[in-house]
């Protein structure tokens, strides 16, 4: 299985993502944001970081970079595109997933482990996972998901919420919401479920001795789903 990680100026989770994808069997290629053509692959990842210094709005500049037209075409043709953290911000700015990511409610950069609950397994990312609650890491300043009421209705009607912030038992109450995100939303899909944007970093949870293994479960399952 082939994957591509796009590196934007200011990306800083691109190599971590490369390590994670390679560890679980992907043949990964790094692609520079200024390239025109996306190499043939089964998965494209927009990594975390601070592309273009978060100028204007997080992800707004990166969403207009040269490679993004190919990424958008790939996504529109049904290809799997995953955006993590700043990658999620780039996805919303490019219009591939609905909504926006605002500044965290209490104006703090949040860097900690959180629990997230998978809401919908009827998609290539989460199908066949045998648990619902995952411990993953978040590190962001703008992860406060927001969308209009009309968009929210559409997202809910189409089961586009991918994951919610919750506690270790999977309770998705407001007190387990780290950043003020609408309805505790931590990640969403596009309508077709081939594009996934989420704030938590699965690539930071792939080593028992360093962090945890819930990211490993995600990547192992993902490559099996794609095969």
């Amino acid at each position: 299985m082939k994957s591509v990680v796009i590196t934007f100026p200011g990306s800083n989770c691109d190599r971590d993502m490369h390590v994670a994808l390679t560890k679980f069997g992907f043949k990964n290629q790094m692609v520079w944001h200024n390239d025109n053509e996306l190499p043939k692959s089964d998965l494209v990842v927009l990594p975390g970081g601070f592309s273009y210094g978060d100028y204007l709005r997080c992800g707004s500049m990166a969403s207009k970079s040269k490679i993004m037209q190919s990424v958008i075409n790939f996504a529109k043709s049904g290809g799997l595109v995953m955006g993590i953290c700043n990658g999620f911000q780039i996805l919303v700015e490019s219009g591939l997933v609905p909504g926006v990511l605002l500044r965290n409610k209490y104006l703090e950069f949040i860097c900690k482990n959180v629990f997230v609950k998978i809401d919908n397994k009827d998609n290539p990312y989460f199908k066949n996972l045998d648990k619902e609650v995952f411990e993953l890491h978040i590190a962001h300043n703008e992860g406060n998901y927001f969308c209009t009421n009309d968009q929210l209705k559409e997202i809910q009607d189409n089961n586009q919420v991918a994951i919610y912030y919750c506690n270790d038992n999977g309770k998705t109450e407001e007190k387990f919401n780290p950043n003020g995100s609408l309805k505790n939303i931590a990640g969403i899909f596009n309508k077709e479920k081939n594009v996934l944007g989420m704030m938590p970093h699965p690539e930071r949870m792939i080593d028992q001795s360093l962090s945890g293994e819930d990211g490993s479960l995600f990547f192992k399952n993902l490559i099996n789903n794609i095969k």
């Binding site: 204007l56 207009k64 700015e93 926006v100 965290n104 927001f146 969308c147």
Partner: protein
């Protein structure tokens, strides 16, 4: 022509920075404040001498990059 545009958050969008500025102003003794909303201001010098055309160019920029219309509104405030 120089075109000035301001971008503001829509009414129902939470503005935590504006809230903190409000609280700080309150703490400094400015007690007559109802609300503070923070926005962005752009001055764009475009290679166009017709004011209407210049305005259109900057509006196009606002629609495509400078503002995110899910949460923000823009307004051209000056053309000179």
């Amino acid at each position: 022509m120089k075109v000035s545009a301001i971008i503001t958050l829509k009414k129902d969008v939470l503005d935590p920075q504006g809230k903190v500025i409000h609280q700080t102003l309150d703490g400094m003794g400015f007690k007559d404040v109802n609300e503070v909303r923070q926005g962005k201001y752009f001055e764009i010098d475009v290679k166009e001498n017709d004011p209407k055309k210049a305005q259109k160019i900057v509006e196009d920029m606002c629609n495509k990059l400078l503002a995110n219309l899910v949460i923000e509104n823009y307004k051209i405030i000056e053309i000179q």
